[in-house]
Symmetry: C2
């Protein structure tokens, strides 16, 4: 098969690591970035994109979400985590099936693509249906099944079986866009036996681990009461932690736990909007960054956010650190940009493939149109302009694995309107089934 | 002259006070809402807008900004208030003139209209040029000149003269869309004599007052050191406060000061993004609301935000209160909606004219298109869908004073691209002049 080539002309590049001076051309061959220079010949190129007036960035990486929960957007708000979960989310989830999760994931994929996210890391149920949505949408995903055993041995076996079946069926599928992780839900819903088994499977098979840790003060209190240790102390004591573990939330951390995270090179997914909306607390992100800990960003599910806009999430992360430390210099726009791109890639073990714009990396790229009122003037500081002024609606082109998923705000792989109709129908049915 | 009529068909109405069940038609005659009912005849109507799939809201009200500073978007970020102001903003402002302020205000007006704000309250310089931009854009504005005397009598006289000239020339112009307020800058830049003179002029002429109060801990320390009183105690002691005073920021408040605010029926403009970005602090908004104090919302200038998106501001306000009080039930989406609409109207003394959708009120209205990924499903809770899921880009129609300023995202009164070019040129010139 002949190579497929896309040439992006005249782009200002905003990149978290290598800095490119002035406007550049970028050539994509198949799934890879194969050249970045001042003037690339247009001859024999299949497709040319004019990026004058646009900023070219690596696609954003959302390291913690539950994509199918996009169906539950706006279902329950202004409630405590307990009421939200016990009285609203869990009763709804009881009636979920693969079809609903597929539709929810498609709806989420539309939102991700439209707002410039090209990779997401997910933990939920019916994950083979989510994989189907990923396959069709063209996006990149790390999928894990949320394993919960509450100490029940039977359940533990079947949960592990479910996650390992997902691994066997879906890992490295969709042209390599899908990888599968192990997803023990949290230290308070997964037993010590489950966590130890997950560590063993991870080591034996080279599978990475995705888990929720230290989201609420209640979790700290409960784990401390049961184990006599705080969550990260406990996880460290059973040999669970390592550089292959990505922990979502990490709101309540003692200094000793920050040391444990650093020592084990554990990766963090910070979820500020969800932590604020559910009043979970403020993660000590600037302290984590000072300790050279890899902090990435996640939206959590749309049901506790209530959107999947990673630019909004990064702005919120930055502003929340500034005000909570009373130091306006922490979590700068450059650091926020890194959290949304290269740190996400590192957190997922994909830093050689995605997270920045470099020859040889995957062509996961977005274009942001600066010719809009909220981004003018646009001459001073590109990262500030993107992080503080923009939102996801300023993204006009999204490319993943060398394939254009959206151009000039038109999706190429998914039918938005059809998905909206199906999503509305799905949530109506789920409400009726209560 | 014949009446000008616009009929909005089939709208779901989201309103902070009166609740309308089901979809409604709304008829605008000239500048007023003249009928809201189930089925209004289309006969003899000049213009029909189909609002199926759309939410109809009162236009948002931004009660504290510096619109011309939109020129300084992204000029200086991640700095302390002192460095931001002294080393970056003030040197730029030294070279401002009326033409630059006019362009900056037009740029800001484009952004306001596009993101659904129909009224803004401003304090800055060259305010007659800002008034010109307001006149041309069709938006509604409360304009004040920022008076600073630092105790200098000559300067005091000329500053008051400037604000009173603005009042004489511009108050109640542009079909009544422009009102003029008195704008003593703050208790630390305006002398006691200036504040007393402002109170006198306000009483004599029925002019309202717009002032910054208690933005930073440093301000509290400085005022306390000089006056032996905290800012609101001091303002109360000189008889400055009253129901006609709108105070921006109000971050650092003692319980006694909250009592003073309540007793005097002082109005508050909460500016969360600016307070977070400059690390000023977290205003005790939920406590103010508990005390039945009127809290409205402002973006502050785009140079410390860095945009004018009031939906983003309201979401941030809500989330920040939840996490700072660790109570997810405070500042609900309904309360946030009220802050962005009817509370703004009350704060500006315009609650009989704007801030909600009611027959006899001014036709200041916006339509939000819910048929977009970030707002689907859209069936559960309208205020949640708007406040937590949407952003300004979901607004597709903006009407002010009965005139359509934007329809299907196309502006009718302003030429966006021409304004962007002029704004870029202006900031380039200002940078060169440094």
């Amino acid at each position: 098969m002949a190579d497929n080539t896309i040439l992006i002309k005249n782009a200002l590049i905003l990149n978290p690591d290598v800095n490119y001076e002035g406007k550049k051309d970028l050539l994509i061959k198949n799934d890879l970035i194969c050249e970045i220079s001042d003037n690339i010949s247009q001859e024999n190129v299949d497709k040319i994109i004019d990026a004058s007036d646009k900023i070219l960035l690596p696609g954003f990486i959302n390291t913690h979400t539950h994509l199918s929960m996009t169906l539950f957007r706006g279902l329950a708000d202004d409630l405590s985590l307990d009421e939200w979960l016990n009285d609203n989310i869990w009763p709804m989830e009881a009636n979920l099936n693969g079809d609903y999760c597929y539709i929810g994931a498609l709806l989420g994929a539309v939102e991700l693509i439209k707002s410039g996210t090209t990779t997401f890391s997910d933990m939920y149920f019916y994950m083979e249906d989510v994989a189907k949505a990923v396959e069709e949408s063209g996006i990149r995903a790390l999928l894990s099944y949320g394993m919960i055993d509450f100490g029940d041995e039977e359940r533990r076996k079947s949960e592990i079986e479910e996650n390992m079946t997902l691994f066997k069926n879906c890992h490295d599928t969709a042209d390599g866009r899908i990888k599968v992780f192990l997803g023990p839900h949290s230290p308070y819903t997964a037993s010590e036996e489950l966590l130890r088994e997950v560590r063993k499977l991870a080591d034996e098979n080279g599978i990475k681990i995705h888990i929720h840790v230290s989201e609420t003060q209640k979790e700290i209190d409960d784990v401390s009461a049961e184990k006599g240790l705080r969550p990260f102390e406990y996880l460290d004591s059973i040999g669970f932690l390592g550089p292959d573990v990505i922990c979502a939330h990490c709101v309540w951390l003692s200094d000793d736990e920050i040391e444990i995270i650093k020592k084990n090179d554990v990766k963090i997914s910070h979820n500020p909007c969800s932590n604020m909306k559910l009043a979970s607390g403020i993660a000590p992100v600037s302290k984590l960054l000072e300790n050279d800990i890899c902090v990435s960003i996640g939206t959590d599910g749309a049901s506790s956010n209530n959107n999947l806009d990673l630019i909004e999430e990064l702005k919120t992360a930055s502003l929340l650190q500034k005000v909570s430390t009373l130091d306006p210099k922490v979590l700068t726009s450059d650091e926020a940009l890194a959290m949304g791109t290269i740190n996400g890639a590192k957190a997922l073990g994909l830093e050689d493939e995605i997270g920045s714009i470099k020859v040889g990396k995957k062509a996961d790229l977005i274009l942001i149109d600066t010719n809009n009122a909220n981004m003018v003037p646009d001459s001073s500081n590109l990262s500030s302009n993107v992080i503080y002024s923009a939102n996801g609606s300023n993204v006009d082109t999204t490319i993943c694995n060398g394939k254009i998923l959206m151009e000039n705000k038109k999706l190429t792989t998914l039918d938005e309107q059809e998905i909206y109709e199906k999503a509305r129908k799905a949530i109506d049915e789920l409400k009726k089934a209560l």
